[in-house]
């Protein structure tokens, strides 16, 4: 299952934040989004077995205080 992870952070995300996902072989894509009123945002597209694994993987990343949204990508 693919999940899009949106991270809204007051500070730009560093590459090291997505390293655990890269090393685990689940990171399909990553990028930055144009900053808005909430701050700087980035996204990670990950491929994992289920929602729990998506949550656990993101939870383990040492992120600065930020808002994270995890949304499943539908299978077409």
């Amino acid at each position: 299952m693919r999940f899009m992870v949106f991270v809204k952070s007051p500070k730009p995300l560093a590459a090291l934040h997505r390293d655990p996902l890269l090393r685990a072989g689940v990171l399909l894509d990553a990028g930055d989004l144009v900053p808005d009123a909430y701050g700087v945002s980035g996204y990670w597209l990950i491929d994992v077995r289920d929602h729990e694994e998506a949550v656990e993987r993101v939870r383990r990343i040492p992120l600065p205080a930020c808002v994270v949204e995890i949304r499943q990508v539908p299978v077409v």
């Binding site: 090393r23 689940v26 399909l28 077995r49 729990e52 694994e53 949550v55 656990e56 993987r57 077409v76």
Partner: protein, 416 residues
Amino acid sequence: MGATTSVHRTIDAVWRMESAKVIAALARYTRDVGLAEEMAQDALVAALEQWPEEGVPRNPGGWLMTTAKRRSIDQIRRRENFNRKVEEIGRDVQEATPDASEGIEDEIGDDLLSLMFTACHPVLGTEARVALTLKMLGGLKTEEIARAFLVSDATVAQRIVRAKKALADAGVPFEVPEGPELAPRLASVLEVIYLIFNEGYSATQGDDWLRPELCTEALRLGRVLAELAPKEAEVHGLVALMEIQASRTKARTGPGGEPVLLLEQDRSKWDWLLIGRGLKALERAEALNQPPGPYYVQAALAACHGRARKAEDTDWQRIATLYQVLAQISPSPIVELNRAVALSMAFGPAAGLALVDEIAGAKALQGYHLLPSVRGDFLAKLGRTEEAKAEFEKAAALTRNEREKTLLLERAAACG
């Protein structure tokens, strides 16, 4: 009940994420992969008992690691002749905080790599290597492996027990091989990953969902290996090959589950994200400037199709050249037959026919229906219908696939 189920799902997820690291780190301390795997399993059982009541710990990986290490010490203490090891591990556990899993990443990487090489050691048969890899590196349960491979739980359990015993009996060291040993050992790892991928890729509609899941797991293992061994071009070659092949999953079967040939696939159904990843992996392989290996060349071939938005855009000249390279690395009449098809697409049927006639005597092609089928196709395109008809009929008699037989007889009839 709801909460318990949710905790169990979390435990499953944590296990998939952490088990390989726990087993790998334990194997380094105990020098015994079998023991490491058992103790990690024991820690999982303890988690299943305790977490639903006490809640999931803040660092679940560290918890599993600490628990498994304590149990290893207990086990080893029971075996008197391991006194020295007990001291080593005892010291280590005392030093280790509950955050043990947040150790130095390089060290964990080395341990994981050693675990991959051990699970895929050539002293083991293919099935044993596959089962052990999925169990120890994929974090799959025995029953999941059994379902994915359409065999019984007992069969897989036995394969794993025997494999661990075989590793112990052979005294296989827990390490990353070096020097001249590295290339053949790496080839064995790559072979296992690609076997797992193909097992999933050959799954048909209606099969258990775990079968196609094998593709995802193989891809994941390949990507992990690419980060652990970034200087090995063939690793990137294999990853590229799997990414590009996986990109065609939705296009390669029709609504009735029948296979759709590459050139007839609806390319809008290809997963262009995966193709892009495949092409990037191919670039990583190329940047290393190593002599081309079989996975790299197969990936480069797949990429020729992957780069073409329409079938007509395919670079057949490059495909013909790549088949020539592949024929040099691993000579085979089948590769030559593919090269003949590429030549005909690039330079016309006469060029293809010339090569087919050159290789027609090869032993491996006798009784192989694709030889007369391909030859018939070239002859038909050249207007030599009488000969083409005979070839299609010959091919129809050789194939065991009913659908293919019908198609071939239709082509024969069309020759008049």
